[in-house]
Every structure is written in structure tokens, then in C-alpha cells.
């Protein structure tokens, strides 16, 4: 596992289709995000989301000293899962977005934490629950119960991926986990 490079820092957004990865990167990036999209094929999402990411999303924030913080979003479809391993190489941490309207949000959480288990042994994650305003079931407590069962200490934050303050909150939380957790 490659260590994070402080000169090329990057954060990775992952999670299921429609969780808001592209939207979150768009909300916070200071450059127009680069998205690689194709027609959505996930059954439960087709009505809400016509297109979905197939390779990656990319956004960027320039820090005070000119260093660029790279923001990557993984594709949500299972067939592109290998991209997760590519993108997390050398990343600082992982932001897992879960769509609360998904038929099995807790299963998705479990899936993405398992998918990134090797990376998370040396790093940290934060879980962002989106579309909580549409349905509040499962509740945030259910996510914590799920994490407790797994033995994971990650924080769970209810967010609106369109709101840059919420996305910033996710990143602040992740940084705190990395530094103090």
C-alpha cells in the first residue's frame, strides 16, 4: 500500500450509484469537475439518474502554498470496482457516501468498507449519508450499529451532497479522524 504523498494529496469519494459522489466533488471543487459518464444501468436509479460515472470523477482544491488537493470519485457501478483500488493508492482517506433511499443502504456500507478494507487498515474513513431528507430509515443509529458490528470507528454524518458546507464538514471530519482518531 502506497503512503500518502503530502505533495500530491488526494481524497477519494466512494459509494453506491446515486449517492452523490459527483455532486459532492462538484460542490467543493474550484475547477469544473471532470466527469466520465455513461447511461445509467442500475435498476433502482434509472428513474432518478440518467447518467452515471464509469471511470472516475475529478475535482481539485488549491491550498495556500500552491499544493493541489485532488478529489477523486469512484464509479458507483460494481463492474468498475477495480477503480477503487487504483484511486485509493496514496490517498489520505476515504469518504463513503451512502444513499439512504437505496434498497439496502447498510448492505452498501458493508460492501464499500469491505472493498476498501486493505486501504482502511492504514487510513481512515467517514460515512456520509445522503437523501436522508427523503427517508430517515435506516436511522443514523443503524449505521453506527452496523459499524459497531464490524468494529469500525468511523463517524457517520448526514449530508446534502449539493451543499459545499456539508461536503466540507465531511472532509473536516475525515481529517480529524486521520490526525486524532
Amino acid at each position: 500500500m502506497m503512503d500518502a504523498d503530502p505533495r500530491q494529496p488526494k481524497l477519494v469519494f466512494t459509494g453506491c450509484v446515486g449517492a452523490g459522489k459527483t455532486t459532492a466533488i462538484t460542490a467543493i471543487s474550484e475547477v469544473p469537475p471532470i466527469a466520465t459518464e455513461a447511461k445509467s444501468s442500475e435498476e433502482y436509479m434509472v428513474a432518478r439518474k440518467k447518467n452515471t460515472t464509469v471511470a472516475m470523477d475529478y475535482g481539485m482544491l488549491k491550498l495556500d502554498d500552491g499544493v493541489k488537493l485532488h478529489l477523486y470519485g469512484t464509479p458507483g457501478q460494481r463492474r468498475f470496482d477495480f477503480m477503487c483500488h487504483v484511486l485509493t493508492q496514496g490517498a489520505l482517506g476515504l469518504i463513503v457516501l451512502i444513499d439512504n433511499t437505496h434498497p439496502d443502504p447498510l448492505g452498501e456500507l458493508d460492501y464499500y468498507l469491505n472493498l476498501n478494507a486493505a486501504f482502511l487498515r492504514k487510513s481512515a474513513a467517514v460515512v456520509g449519508v445522503t437523501h436522508y431528507d427523503v427517508t430517515d430509515s435506516p436511522a443514523i443509529q443503524d449505521y453506527y450499529d452496523c459499524l459497531l458490528e464490524r468494529g469500525d470507528p468511523w463517524p457517520v454524518v448526514r449530508v446534502d451532497a449539493r451543499d459545499k458546507r456539508d461536503v466540507a464538514l465531511l472532509i473536516h471530519t475525515l481529517l480529524a479522524q486521520l490526525e486524532f482518531g
Binding site: 503530502p6 467543493i28 489520505l92 472532509i171 473536516h172 480529524a176 486521520l178 490526525e179 486524532f180
Partner: protein
């Protein structure tokens, strides 16, 4: 989990030993932690009362609302808390645990600190005002004597209330049925209300029509009462540890509070992250995160109010050797995000 002191009175030495053994076993099943003390003030006094005369003698010298009478069957006394025992026997394990849980629930909100009407006529001594004296002397935060006490009453009786700080203009409407509250100034709850003692808060019970009218006049979107509870403990504690808690007790965060409703959440980020991954006492948490002890205590209390803490576990701290360059990078990213938000 909170820790309460219980002092047996009127029991023989061998009964003391047996009671202590019962309590040791019972602690595994109780919601709070109870410890015996043989002298000094306690949260509850377990009194062996074999006769009315004996009971009167004890209740005259001790705060009556803190007495748990342990009486023989058939003996009727004026005791708020009472358990039975057979002659020459101790109270049953089940009855003792049930009663201690009931008392613990009230102690957690400081109900027993409020003197009942019968207490008012009692002579001076370690009466219910003893709790107040303890809070001041030991500088503990007693939630029942502040805004939290009123919120708790409101949730218990289901009657909406309008709360106003006597020295402020801000009002809070509490609607227990929907679990919501409404603040006249939704930008900030004034410290005059959050840190005021209960007797400095004007409390008005509202009917449903009056409540609906006041909510519409206020025009505030409303917030969950749990958020108000968290904020009230956070800002009302002012560096005083929640009464019944210990400075040296290791704690761990079970789950994070809802950060979107936590004002100035950035100040607590490091504390929350450390507390979620480590089990340590408040002073260690402060030392490891660079936060002041006062800030850690305030956050600790807010978590106690919402039952967000695992208490009393073994100290467990993961040593983290962070590259200084990476640490600086985190600071730069955080600063950049704050600029972005502004």
C-alpha cells in the same frame, strides 16, 4: 454510565459486607454504577428501618428524598423509596436492582435535588440542598438545575412550554409531542438561557392553540429537542463536570453527535475524533488533542446528556506517529475549506 454513592445506615457489619457483595453483582445489570460509601454525603441512603421510630430518627437527619427505606413487611412508613426484606434477611437482589435503576433515572436529571414540600419544613442538616452545596463545592454541573431539567420535565409530562431567560429576550418553545423546539433567534441560543440556573428561567405552560400561535409568530423552522439538549449541556456546563461523573473515568464516544447542528463544530473535531478511537479520561483527552480541559468537559457533558458515551472502560489509547509534514498538510486543507465556506 454515571456513578452514584449509596450509604447504608442501620445495618450490621456483616450485613454491610453482604450488601456490598450484592451491589457488586448488581452493578453488572444496573443502568448506572453504584458504589458503597460508609461515611460522608451520598446520593442515596439505604436505611434499615425496623420500626416507625427508627425511620423517623433517620429521616429527620438526612435528606428525605434521598432515603431508600429497607423495611420489614407490614411496616408502613412515609418513604418515597421503599423495599421490603424478611426478618434477618437483606432485600432481594431483583428488588434492589429495580429500585436503584428507578432512583438512578431521577438522579441523572437531578430531580432529587428539588426539595419537596415536606422537606421545606425539615430542620437544617444534609437535606436536599446538600446536592446544591455539593455542586457548588465540587463545582459539578447538575443538569436538573438548569435548562435540561425543564426540558426533561417537559418530555415527561408532555406539556408544551415557553421558556424565557429572565435577563434576556430570547424565547424557546418546546413541543414535546413532535420532539421539536423553536427559538426566537435561530442564529444563536443566548448563553443567558443555556447557562442560567433553573430558577432564572421563566417557564410558561402552553395549550395547543397557544403553542401553534406562538410558533407561527416566531417563524422559526424548529429543531430537534435532542439538539437543544446537546447544546444546553455543551454551553451550560461551563467547565463543570456532570454531577456523578468522575474526572478520572475513562470514556469513549459511541457515536458522533449530529455535527450539522453543533455550533462551532470545528473546535470539537479533534476531541470527537480522539474520543471515538480511544478510551481516556477528560484530562488525557485535553492533553492529546490540545483542547482545554474546560472544552473537553463541556463536550463530555453534552455527550452524557444524549447517552453518546461508553463509560468506565479500560484506558485504551492508540499511539499515533504522524509525519509532521502530513500534520501541516491537514491544517492547510482545513484552512482552505474554511476559506471556501466563507
Amino acid at each position: 454510565m454515571l456513578c452514584y454513592l449509596i450509604r447504608p445506615i442501620g445495618f450490621s457489619e456483616s450485613e454491610h459486607g453482604n450488601l456490598e457483595a450484592i451491589l457488586t453483582i448488581a452493578n453488572g445489570r444496573l443502568r448506572e454504577n453504584w458504589r458503597w460509601t460508609t461515611n460522608g454525603p451520598a446520593d442515596v441512603y439505604l436505611v434499615a428501618a425496623e420500626s416507625s421510630l427508627e425511620w423517623e430518627r433517620h429521616s429527620a437527619a438526612l435528606p428525605r428524598d434521598r432515603l431508600l427505606a429497607c423495611t420489614l413487611p407490614g411496616l408502613n412508613i412515609d418513604a418515597r423509596w421503599q423495599i421490603r426484606r424478611e426478618p434477618l434477611q437483606l432485600p432481594s437482589f431483583r428488588e434492589l436492582t429495580r429500585m436503584l435503576d428507578a432512583i438512578g433515572a431521577e438522579l441523572a436529571f437531578g430531580d432529587l435535588s428539588t426539595a419537596s414540600s415536606s422537606d421545606a419544613s425539615k430542620p437544617a442538616g444534609p437535606t436536599s440542598s446538600d446536592r446544591e452545596a455539593r455542586e457548588e463545592a465540587d463545582d459539578f454541573y447538575d443538569p436538573g438545575k438548569h435548562l435540561l431539567g425543564i426540558i426533561r420535565d417537559c418530555l415527561m409530562d408532555g406539556v408544551p412550554r415557553r421558556l424565557t431567560a429572565r435577563d434576556g429576550n430570547c424565547a424557546v418553545l418546546i413541543e414535546p409531542e413532535r420532539g421539536l423546539c423553536f427559538v426566537s433567534d435561530d442564529k444563536a441560543l443566548p448563553s443567558s438561557l443555556l447557562s442560567a440556573s433553573r430558577d432564572r428561567i421563566q417557564e410558561q405552560r402552553l395549550g395547543s392553540e397557544q403553542l401553534a400561535h406562538e410558533i407561527s409568530v416566531m417563524g422559526s423552522p424548529g429543531m430537534a429537542i435532542s439538539d437543544l439538549v446537546f447544546i444546553a449541556a455543551l454551553f451550560g456546563s461551563r467547565g463543570r463536570l456532570w454531577i456523578g461523573c468522575r474526572f478520572d473515568e475513562p470514556v469513549r464516544l459511541k457515536r458522533w453527535p449530529d455535527l450539522r447542528h453543533l455550533p462551532q463544530y470545528m473546535e470539537y473535531m479533534g476531541v470527537m475524533a480522539f474520543m471515538s478511537g480511544n478510551t481516556a479520561d477528560v484530562k488525557t483527552i485535553a492533553a492529546r488533542t490540545g483542547a482545554s480541559v474546560e472544552k473537553v468537559i463541556n463536550f463530555h457533558n453534552a455527550c452524557v446528556a444524549l447517552d453518546l458515551l461508553d463509560r468506565g472502560g479500560e484506558v485504551s489509547i492508540r499511539e499515533k506517529a504522524l509525519n509532521p509534514e502530513i500534520r501541516r498538510l491537514y491544517g492547510k486543507i482545513a484552512k482552505r475549506l474554511q476559506n471556501n465556506e466563507a
